[in-house]
Amino acid sequence: MALSDFIADLDSLATDAESAFAKATASDALEAARVEFLGAKGGRLKAIQKGMGQVEKGDKPAAGQKLNAVKKAIEEAFELAKSRLAETASAAGGTDDPFDPTLPGHPLRLGRLHPITQTIERMKEIMGRLGFTAVEGPEIEDDWHNFEALNIPLSHPARDPLDNFYLTSSPAAEAASPLLLRSQTSTVQIRVMEQVLANAVAGEAAPSVRIVSLGRVYRPDTADATHYPMFHQIEGLLIDRGVTMADLKSVLRMFCQSYYHTDDRGAGVAEVPADDVQIRFRPSFFPFTEPSVEVDINWQGGWMEIGGAGMVDPNVLRAVGYDPEEVTGFAFGMGVERIAMRQHNITDIRDLYTNDARFLAQF
């Protein structure tokens, strides 16, 4: 075989292969073309290679050189076509598998906790770290726990029937004293103090109490954007030897530092850097504490009221069986709704109890 024929065959093969690779628009077509030209067994290049045996001996080095050059050219053409296809495939999302990975994932429907629950849990958790155990008690109470033991005598305006939800007496619920929906969670504090004293060993030091009581309370307010006849309170109580108003102020400050703390990523919760949290007391009046104060924290350049507090009135201590000469104590209370609303930008308290799914889904 003449060298020129051999070279002509190789050239035409190279032209065919390059054209076939260039025409392939899918990876299977390209693969077929590869097998046709470069196939190890029946490929056309292989067939021509076999023909080299018939080339004149002296022409063999030239024929071998040409063969290698053409083989390299065809392989390069294939690689080029392959990467072209891969690019197209990734740009077009893959033509073989019509899967669209940009579709949304299957949504996982998770329910949300009510913002009031979230606020309460957060408060409980912080108070827990400060050593206060969360307790609950009955929502329907008697005069003793809601008033008498809390130093609210019969003549006190707070006991006016118009300011409370008394129950009508019914034969099924005949009780010794009139019952009412509790107007404050301090009732639970009375119950806990009574209980620890009942369990106390005579002759030993009076037991200490360190609790937060929380739950629903009821007052006859006309419902509007800021009032609802049912709301939630959280109240703290610490009874022990040597408890002072400085302890009260310090505990409230630690609570606020923790509750309003913002870390580097805490945007949204961000209120006041912990070190800057300050507590301000203003004198006030509550029957169950003396001295009594309103509690403010510094807030956006001013002061924000967060609740009421004071030293447990000696009459309350005596009512449950403590000796005010032996122990002292402090108590504080906060309205959960007000704090939750301010934090979550809720402008109408009634939204909390309408339970619109769109509202609840935000928290």
């Binding site: 009955p138 329907i140 009821y218 006849p229 002072t244 007391f281 203003r282 006030s284 909390l352 889904a361």
Partner: protein, 672 residues
């Protein structure tokens, strides 16, 4: 309490700015509500707590300012000259429990006319309507010292006689507002020889009112009972600056002062002659002296956590008007001023020391002792319950504890007792303490549908209130669910809760025992061991119609008490075997009446301890292939032994034993 700064300046030097003044007052007990400029005066609105009626007059607030800025208080000493004959009016109190003291002074020959500008201006700056000189003066004295006064036209007082008595039941009285009020027995009225002329402490009468033609006056200054005044004002919606002050208590020693002050100003501005001496009845001033209060100095750091120098303590108490009767190294004893009825105990004095010395001096970085707190079992369990139901896609709702009474009657899975009722509805018509949370959640569902909210899956954890004879009601905490899913979907949520709480007791259902509203074929009561756990069911089509809801709607209400009792929240590991499991699929045909629960029980009993897992797959019905009234139940049984590798033959033997027992007891026929 609205105060004029100009007026305050009559009694105390105001060297400070308004900001400084109001800031300090706020921090010592008179909270700033607002500041306004009226003409050349500054008007300050201060909130006065109910224990401080002494600050319901300018002199009282001036006294606070004098104490805080160490200034002198200049209080007028009215000594009106009696130039007329001896006071001939008689005063009698027949209800000393409602009126402890009553004084009447008489001025004859006054000329009613407009008030001078300075007086009118002062009242106007407080927002008080200006009437005539006499009425304006009594209002002026009220806002000066806090003691309400009333002036009668003496010419209209029959018999020149004042009787303070209880009203007769149904007695009628026409007030200054020309409305007639029907009084109930026990209301304190001021009467003349013939009829009631005023509601004590609340409002005067129309026909004894001072008018342009009045010449002779009777000036009343008295002390009316707080509770009775409040009741009367509330009953008849007659709240006034006067009733407001009597409700909080007036200074018993200030009664005569106010009377003299009023007479002095009337003589000066309206003329006339004062009769000699007041006509009085009731407790005299001397009897009102308060008891001695002892303040032990060590109590100051014991309660406040700070030391206050003894000299400062004594100074504060004296400045506030206390009379010191004793002092030594250990304590000081004082008698509180008559205008401070709130000071009766050592702790009351401690509060005075704290607020005047300054709460800002109490440190806020004290070393509070550490103490271990614990989370209650209930808290931990409820958190897990919430985790499961939110993971199941339920949002937490929160609804009112009371409902309309008919809703209690319509759905009551827990009791038949009549609901507890509040004397006034808590909201709209909701006056019945609920006995199930389900109706409230259905109400929310309806609201949400009206809002076109597509997916409404809600739960609430709240109490129901079941009456109990002779004691506080049984308040039971419930988990209520309302779902748009079907029965088995919601049952699955309940089962998952039990799994998550590691409850070992079996959950069983009873058919045909669930309450109204539920579709009878898809409603059950749930039981945990021996206790009733709750109810579960799909709403009947009637109930759907009644609530305006589209089905399916499945509800559940779970009593959390048995869950709390049975929950184990500290898991304990058990060893597990490494021998391989072996599974068998069973497909057995039964009559429709056969329940899976019965099948399951046999499978577990016959399989014994080899049963590792029993997974129900499906129910298959085909009348042609299985026959009418038949169904096939398909399940996978996984067996594993702790003692060794289970052989195929052994597994088949277990399966055959089960199939035989199912055939014998339940008529089951192996299909494949």
């Amino acid at each position: 309490m609205i105060l004029s700064k100009k007026w305050l300046a009559d009694y105390v030097k105001l060297s400070m700015s308004t900001d400084e003044l109001t800031e300090r007052l706020t921090l010592t007990g008179l909270n700033l509500e607002g500041v306004e400029t009226v003409g050349d005066d500054t008007v300050i609105d201060l909130e006065v707590t109910s224990n401080r009626p002494d600050c319901l007059g300018h002199i009282g607030v001036a006294r606070e300012i004098a104490v805080l800025w160490d200034e002198k208080l200049h209080q007028p000493d009215p000594q009106p000259k009696a130039t007329g004959p001896k006071n001939s009016v008689s005063v009698e109190i027949t209800c000393p429990q409602l009126c402890s003291r009553y004084t009447a002074r008489v001025i004859r020959g006054v000329k009613i006319g407009p008030s001078p500008d300075w007086l009118a201006e002062r009242l106007r700056s407080l927002g008080i309507a200006v009437v005539n000189n006499v009425v304006d003066i009594s209002n002026y004295v009220l806002f000066e010292c806090g003691q309400p006064l009333h002036t009668f036209d003496l010419g209209k007082i029959a018999g020149e006689k004042i009787i303070v008595r209880e009203a007769r039941e149904g007695e009628e009285f026409t007030a200054i507002d020309h409305k007639t009020y029907k009084l109930s027995a026990g209301t304190c009225v001021i009467a003349d020889a013939e009829r009631a002329v005023a509601l004590g402490g609340v409002m005067g009468g129309a026909d004894t009112e001072v008018s342009e033609t009045t010449t002779d006056l009777l000036i009343e200054s008295a002390d009316f009972d707080p509770l009775s005044t409040r009741t009367t004002a509330r009953t008849h919606h007659l709240h006034s600056p006067s009733s407001y002050r009597f409700e909080r208590g007036v200074d018993p020693e200030g009664i005569d002062w106010a009377s003299r002050r009023c007479c002095e100003l009337i003589l000066e501005l309206a003329g006339g002659e004062l009769d000699g001496g007041p006509a009085s009845a009731g407790r005299s001033g001397e009897a009102t002296e308060s008891p001695e209060i002892k303040l032990r100095f060590p109590q100051i750091p014991r309660l406040l956590g700070i030391d206050v120098p003894e000299s400062e303590v004594r100074q504060i108490l004296t400045d506030l008007g206390c009379r010191e009767t004793h002092h030594c190294d250990h304590c000081v004893k004082v008698i509180a001023p008559t205008w401070r009825a709130d000071l009766t105990r050592e702790v009351d004095l401690l509060e005075e020391i704290a607020r005047i010395h300054g709460y800002e001096k109490i440190p806020e970085d004290g070393q509070v002792r550490m103490a271990p707190s614990h989370r209650s079992h209930e808290d931990i369990v409820l958190e897990r319950v919430r985790r499961v139901v939110t993971a199941a896609g339920f949002d937490e709702a929160m609804t009112l504890s009371t409902v309309e009474p008919e809703l209690v009657d319509a759905f009551r899975p827990w009791t038949d007792a009549a609901p507890l009722l509040t004397s006034t509805p808590v909201l709209r018509r909701a006056n019945a303490l609920r006995q199930s949370v389900v109706p409230s959640l259905l109400g929310c569902r309806k609201t949400n549908l009206a809002m076109s909210n597509r997916v409404v899956e809600q739960f609430e954890i709240a109490k129901v209130y079941l009456p109990r004879m002779g004691q506080l009601p049984d308040e039971r905490r419930m988990l209520a669910l309302a779902s748009g899913g079907e029965f088995l979907a919601v049952k699955g949520v309940v089962e998952t809760i039990l799994t998550e709480l590691a409850i070992a007791l079996p959950l069983t259902v009873r058919e045909n025992s669930a309450p109204a509203w539920l579709a009878s074929s898809r409603a059950v009561t749930l039981h945990l061991g021996e206790s009733q756990l709750g109810i579960l069911g799909e709403l009947s089509s009637e109930a759907l119609d009644q609530w305006d809801l589209r089905g399916p709607v499945t509800i559940a209400e779970i009593d959390l008490a048995p869950l709390l009792d049975a929950a184990e929240w500290i898991p304990r590991a058990v060893p597990f075997t490494t021998y391989p499991p072996i599974s068998r699929d069973l497909n057995v045909v039964f009559d429709e009446a056969i329940r899976w629960a019965d099948v399951e029980q046999i499978v577990r009993t016959e399989g014994g301890e080899l049963v590792e897992r029993l997974a129900f797959m499906e129910t298959y019905r085909d009348a042609d292939r299985l026959g009418a009234g038949k169904k096939s139940l398909v399940w996978t049984l996984t067996l594993r032994s702790a003692k060794g590798t289970l052989t195929s033959e052994k597994a088949d033997a277990v399966r055959d034993r089960i199939v035989a027992k199912l055939a014998k007891d339940l008529g089951g026929e192996l299909r494949a």
